[in-house]
Subunit: 142 residues, 2 copies
């Protein structure tokens, strides 16, 4: 049985030429304590452009919209088309000022709703141990 849960936006991703940062709503400033001790964060955001019945019903894609990539189930990709349009990217923190976090880069549309920020911890299995299909190495999975 399908159950529904509620996600709220906690800020906005600014992603323009020469400007890449997270603007977190001021009510969450208390949640920043100690964040400057981490080099990387996991940035969770909502793929709002794909948040509609059609986008959420897609189960298979040619990754990156390239028909040279094999038709692939969305769980085997990081496609923005999926049942729940959530995205996460590991980003390097360059600066924190007030509720603004400047990051190195993110593959998110400017204005995307931010939904979470988590400390990024090293993954013991990385990187030599991760197996991916051949088409990934010429492209990317999303």
């Amino acid at each position: 049985m399908e159950t529904e849960y509620k996600i709220v936006s906690i800020g906005t991703i600014i992603n323009r030429e020469n400007e890449c940062r997270l603007e977190v709503d001021p009510q969450y400033q208390g949640a920043f304590l100690g964040l400057e001790q981490f080099s990387h964060i996991d940035v969770f955001y909502w793929l709002d452009a794909n948040d509609n019945d059609a986008g959420r019903a897609v189960l298979r894609v040619h990754p990156r919209g390239d028909r040279a990539n094999p038709l692939t189930g969305v769980f085997a990709t990081r496609s923005p088309l999926r049942p729940n349009p959530i995205a996460v990217s590991c980003c390097r923190v360059l600066a924190i000022e007030g509720c603004s976090i400047t990051i190195d880069a993110i593959d998110a549309r400017d204005g995307s709703p931010l939904i979470d920020v988590k400390a990024h911890l090293p993954n013991k299995d990385e990187t030599e141990d991760i197996r991916v299909p051949d088409w990934i190495n010429e492209n990317k999975a999303d």
Copy 2:
């Protein structure tokens, strides 16, 4: 301005002694195509036990509930207490049968709602380049 979005459960995490797997709802079977080519997946789930006004209002915690760990903003942890109770874990895939994915291990409550599965791609910054505070190395961030 706070905006709300809808997450739906797409299955359930089974996490018992000698049994660790994702039971995905059959309607999503089409999304599995090609998943067997990946050694690891990112498993997204909902921290439903903390999905209440009190849990979502917590901005600072002693990580892992241990007062020996410094009071820390939830964005600088992976605490289950946070504005949006989302969790993600990188898991090794052991077997896929129908809509059931057996994984090596996950730090999730048995019965947790599953909300997404994504192919895990190697992170170029891992692992020597990730900086974390000292308290992480004796404990964990959540």
